[in-house]
Amino acid sequence: MSRPRVAVLHAPGTNRDGEALVALEQAGAAAAIVPVGRDLHQFDAVVVPGGFSYGDALGAGTRLALELNEPLADFAAGGRPVLGICNGFQALVKAGLLPGCEGSAARRVTLAHNANGRFECRWVHLAVEPDCRAGLHGVLPSIIACPVAHGEGRIAVDRPEQADDLARRGHVLFRYVGADGLPANGRYPENPNGSAADIAGLCNKDGNVWGLMPHPEDHIVDAQDPYGRRGRLGLALFQALVDRARAN
């Protein structure tokens, strides 16, 4: 399987599907935009891209979550990789696929309105968590730079200790850091939305469902980095996804 087949799911209001497609192709996948609801069995991986699915009229990702819940749970159960970005991440969280912990199905993590109450677009820096079940530490560059563009991206937890519990159990995928790689420690704008424990992305217990608020698909060539740095490509995440799909 030289070029894994990757579905980029599309619902009304999805809008970064084009960039995800380009990033996947560049990472070596045979990618296709696929309307939500289509049978996914022929695909080796799924990306749920950003946007405002169904206008996010009932809360970000709420409506899309209903559509994804069953088909993606089935898809991921076979170990095939799933990546949710921004609105896709919101939908995976609201569908209960992330953080996908053992035990009770009650939602313990959500994506709430940004701490400053506004939609915000800015470049951020991400560090992959060392003890993450996705096993991406050492696979990705030590810092990834890419933009966030969301109004509801703040990781909120049901109880104060939850963020530490998630990290201990290997569910934290990315955290926001400064351009120097040092922890944001909740500081704005390095942590752009007030997320608990600077969490920017999560993965499930099997390490094959990944989600993050920032947009790695918007950094696939060095020229996109506004700070003129090199080698902090978000493309690496798509390469990792394609490798995982290939290995599966």
């Binding site: 405002f52 009229a57 009932l58 209903l66 939609f119 937890v157």
Partner: protein, 932 residues
């Protein structure tokens, strides 16, 4: 919310917000629990349901706000769809929001909070208790009625009265032409015919002023006549004439379509359009700006292009305008600005389009009549936009449903605003549904590639009446309005025909396979597509509603019957002081003056606005609305690479030029200055000045008043001359006239937008220099031109020369571009408002670097050297080892070495050997961010 309350003097400390959904029937407790579980987020929200008729009270200090019936309620509709998806059957739903303030405000305070912060009576309803249930349907009238309007055998005064009463905005001569036509027909017009003519002949659609014959008298300030002139149409004589004279081979389409089209590369073209949505934004800032974006994006779809970027230029009254000075019926400019910015962000972000360029200006003259310019760029395969509708093709409307919203937008925009307009024209204001338009965008993209249609146009002002009339203007058409999908029952035929409901496009599609495929695609993309009728070939516009005929007009009368206007214009040079600018105390320290200019809202940081727009989506934004390590440096223009075009290395740049302050003194020079500003901005980011397409957007007062028209004519002449001097054709334009509030006109405001190509995306520069020891050059000359400058405004001085046009601007910009393209320039910046002083400070801010500058003023006063806004200048920042190469690349051009970048964190400017500015970066940043 609390902050907004404080701004209007209501001392609340907290505000809790609840989402409310009201459903029209009880689907059972289990169903309600499922609905709640699906919409409420248990991690951050509590939720419950209750019966609306339960002893209904709310805690003190609560107000519930919902939409008026008939106004778009996307949340309500999505809840209906969710209920359906969950198998709970058909529900009607409406959304609302409850605001609970503490400590409890007085009833008067709560009323003010509601009216001035939370709700707008144009689109919202509210209750200081539970909001009564009401669902999408406005009061229905029963049975379709066609009214015949008696216009034959009535006196001329009656004709004008009919025009006023029906909001037709037609003048006596136009009404008389309509009467004469129907006298020949031997009948009176129907309501729909009269409305169709009013829409098609509106200033908005027909640009009557720009086509009129104009007699211009130009007077000196003392009243002596300078010259008189008759102009055979501004559009033909000035704008289109310049484009024709230049005959640029890369212009694919100018002025004939919904948007201008220019070549991008061997395979693709770029389409560009800038529109205004001023009057709707004055009344309902969010909805007005929201649908402004939606409208201009449909203009791009109307030339078969895939929208790829947006720009917005906004003009407001100053944010610190005293509440007490607001005329009745006027929203506070702060609220207008917040609503407009939110409306633009909401629509652009949800369409997935990056908002990459623009400007925000403040002037007391925009009180009551803000300006909202919305622009969009699209990409299409070269030659893929069809314009060959044939008899037999069917007329298909795609996208949103039709309601009673947005009726009379075209005619409403062609009338002055007054305190009552809000009430009168509330039907003209809408809230958009960007997701519907997003799906239409995707449908058109595929339909164009599969060549499924033969003609396309957008439903904008005038709704179906304008769109169908335009689509079939050379063929003839018969449509049946009974087929038009409605949001709710009860629309009269003329309402369905005139409604400007958003998110609709009209296509001509050959029947058979191509129609079947289009309908299939639409279904896949969840877009409603409906056949309304067919093109006939008989050159008639025929509109039926079932068996009822409501319009039967020949196309030639509809499109050619409007009498041409003849208008008088008078340009009288303003009376201006001849005294010199107020004396400076020598040695003049201009540090405080510079800080004052940086703090001016026109110059100050726009970061809080820019970041609410997604400027990254589609992944191609190379020069953003900000730059530098602080993430907030001002950039001159945007540079974007279309999605999937990384390999080719080519990009496009977008810039704007606008300065109403100059126009007050000299509208001609405002125009030449705006074109120059566009060029400076484009060249400063690395764009090629040899292929610049321009757009003109005139926002002026009532053109039937000679003084308003006089300055408009002068600006139009300036556009013509500048287009030729810069060899830059106009490819599209739009005028928005009647921008007056209670008889006071806005400052005549010309926006010039420029679209250029960046040959090599690796040779793009910004205004953020990196590192100390770089050399700063000034290209161009500074003259004693403080007239209309920000500095003169700051001094309260109305004198000085307005910046003069240059003799040969293009060769200078070509030389500068060649130097940038050769990689000789590290950073570049355009001195505009605030002159060199502000531009140098902005280099510091953007790079978070010190600058050390030393110059001779060559006979100019130091403040003239620092703050004059002379044209033709650029700051270029160069590595020390490249200075010789730069100087030889720019040989023959005025070029002065001003100083270097430093790592001392200070802006140091010495003029004629004496200190003129001494400021630390922290001080600059603080002033520029308007921090206390």
């Amino acid at each position: 919310m609390v902050r907004a309350a404080h701004l209007i003097g209501v001392p609340v400390e907290r505000c809790e917000v609840d989402r409310i959904y009201i459903v029209d029937r009880n689907p059972g407790e289990a169903a309600l629990d499922r609905l709640l579980a699906a919409v409420a987020d248990p991690v951050v929200e509590e939720s419950r349901w209750r019966f609306a008729d339960e002893a209904a009270t709310t805690p003190a200090g609560t107000v519930e706000v919902g939409r008026l019936t008939g106004v778009t309620d996307a949340e309500g509709r999505e809840l209906e769809s969710l209920a359906d998806r969950l198998g709970l059957g058909t529900l009607r739903a409406a959304s609302a929001t409850a605001y609970r303030f503490g400590p409890v405000p007085t009833p008067e305070q709560l009323e003010r909070l509601t009216r001035e912060v939370l709700a707008n009576p144009t689109v919202d309803r509210w209750a200081f208790g539970p909001l009564p249930a009401a669902f999408g349907d406005p009061a229905a009238t029963h049975g379709e009625v066609v009214e015949v309007v008696k216009i034959r055998d009535v006196p001329a005064e009656r004709l004008e009265q009919i025009s006023r009463e029906r909001l037709l905005s037609l003048d006596r001569a136009e009404m008389a032409a309509i009467r004469a036509f129907f006298e020949d027909c031997g009948r009176d017009p129907t309501d729909a015919e009269l409305e169709t003519l009013a829409q098609t002949w509106s200033e908005h659609c027909l640009h009557k002023t720009f086509r009129a014959r104009i007699n211009l008298t130009w007077r000196h300030a003392d009243g002596r006549v300078h010259s008189t002139e008759t102009i055979d149409g501004l559009l033909a004589t000035h704008l289109r004439a310049a484009t024709d004279a230049l005959a640029a081979p890369w212009v694919r389409s100018a002025f004939v379509d919904n948007a201008g089209i220019v070549a991008f590369d061997d395979e693709a073209d770029l389409a560009i359009k800038v529109e205004t949505h001023n009057h709707p934004s004055a009344l309902e800032p969010f909805g007005g700006a929201n649908t402004g974006v939606g409208g201009v994006v449909r203009d791009i779809l109307g030339v078969s292009a895939r929208p790829i970027a947006c720009l917005d230029v906004l003009c407001f009254a100053p944010p610190d305008t005293p509440e007490a000075s607001l005329p009745a019926g006027v929203l506070h400019p702060r609220r207008v600005a917040e609503g407009v910015v939110a409306g633009i962000g909401d629509y652009g972000n949800k369409l997935g389009l990056p908002t990459v360029a623009g400007a925000v200006l403040y002037d007391p003259g925009y009180l009551g009549n803000p300006l909202v310019y919305c622009g969009a760029v699209g990409l299409l395969p070269t030659g893929s936009h069809p314009r060959n509708p044939e008899p037999g093709d069917v007329v298909v409307v795609v996208g949103g449903r039709t309601g009673r919203d947005g009726i009379h937008g075209a005619t409403f925009s062609s009338a002055d605003l007054s305190a009552e307009t809000g009430q009168m024209a509330s039907s003209a204001v809408q809230i958009g549904e960007p997701i519907t338009e997003k799906q239409v965008m995707e449908l058109i993209d595929v339909a164009r590639d599969e060549q499924l249609y033969t003609a396309i146009t957008d439903c904008g002002a005038g709704g179906l009446s304008s769109a169908v009339g335009e689509l079939a203007s050379e063929v003839g058409v018969e449509v049946d309005l009974a087929e038009v999908p409605r949001k709710y029952p009860g629309l009269q035929p003329w309402e369905a025909w005139l409604s400007e409901s958003q998110e609709r496009m009209v296509l001509a599609v050959p029947p058979g396979q191509r129609l079947d495929r289009l309908l299939e695609l639409a279904q896949e993309l969840s877009v409603e597509a409906t056949v309304l009728g067919r093109l006939t070939g008989d050159q008639q516009l025929v509109v039926n509603h079932g068996q009822l005929r409501i319009v039967d007009l020949p196309m030639d009368f509809l499109h050619g019957g409007c009498p041409r206007r003849e208008l008088d214009a008078e340009w009288c040079e303003p009376v201006r002081p001849t005294d010199p600018a107020p004396a400076l105390t020598e040695p003049a320290d201009l540090s405080d003056g510079l800080l004052a200019l940086l703090r001016h809202p026109d110059v100050a940081s726009k970061e809080s606005i820019i970041r609410t727009y997604d400027h990254e989506v589609r992944g191609g934004t190379l020069v953003r609305p900000w730059c530098g390590p602080g993430g907030d440096g001002p950039t001159d223009a945007a540079v974007c690479v279309p999605l999937g075009h990384w390999e080719a290395g080519k990009a496009f740049a977008l810039a704007v030029g606008i300065n109403p302050r100059l126009g007050r003194l000299d509208p001609y020079r405002m125009a030449t200055a705006a074109v120059d500003e566009v060029f400076r901005n484009l060249v400063a980011v690395g764009a090629d000045p040899g292929q610049v397409a321009l757009l003109d957007n005139f926002c002026w007062g009532n053109p039937t008043l000679p003084d308003r028209l006089g300055s408009l004519v002068r600006a139009s002449q300036g556009c013509h001359d500048a287009a030729l001097a810069y060899r830059a054709p106009f490819v599209s334009g739009k005028d928005s006239l009647f921008n007056e509030f209670e008889g006071r006109e806005i400052p005549g405001t010309l926006l010039i937008t420029g679209l250029a190509l960046v040959p090599d995306r690796n040779r793009v520069v910004t205004s953020a220099p990196a590192g100390a020891g770089l050399v700063i050059y000034l290209l161009g000359e500074t003259r004693a031109e403080l007239g209309g400058s920000l500095w003169a405004d700051h001094l309260g001085w109305g004198g000085g020369d307005v910046p003069a046009p240059l003799d040969d601007p293009l060769s200078r910009y070509r030389a500068a571009h060649a130097a940038i393209a050769a990689g000789l320039v590290e950073a570049a910046h355009d001195p505009s408002e605030g002159g060199l002083g502000v531009a140098l400070a902005e280099l510091c801010l953007a790079g978070r670097l010190g600058l050390s500058v030393s110059a001779e003023t060559n006979g100019l006063r130091t403040d003239e050297w620092l703050f004059a806004e002379s044209l033709g200048r650029l700051l270029l920042v160069v590595r020390a080892e490249d200075t010789t190469a730069l100087e030889s690349a720019l040989a023959g051009q005025p070029l002065a070495r001003l100083g270097t970048t430093t790592d001392d964190g200070r802006l140091t400017i010495d003029l004629n050997g004496a200190p003129a500015v001494r400021l630390g970066i922290a001080e600059l940043v603080k002033a520029w961010r308007r921090e206390a």
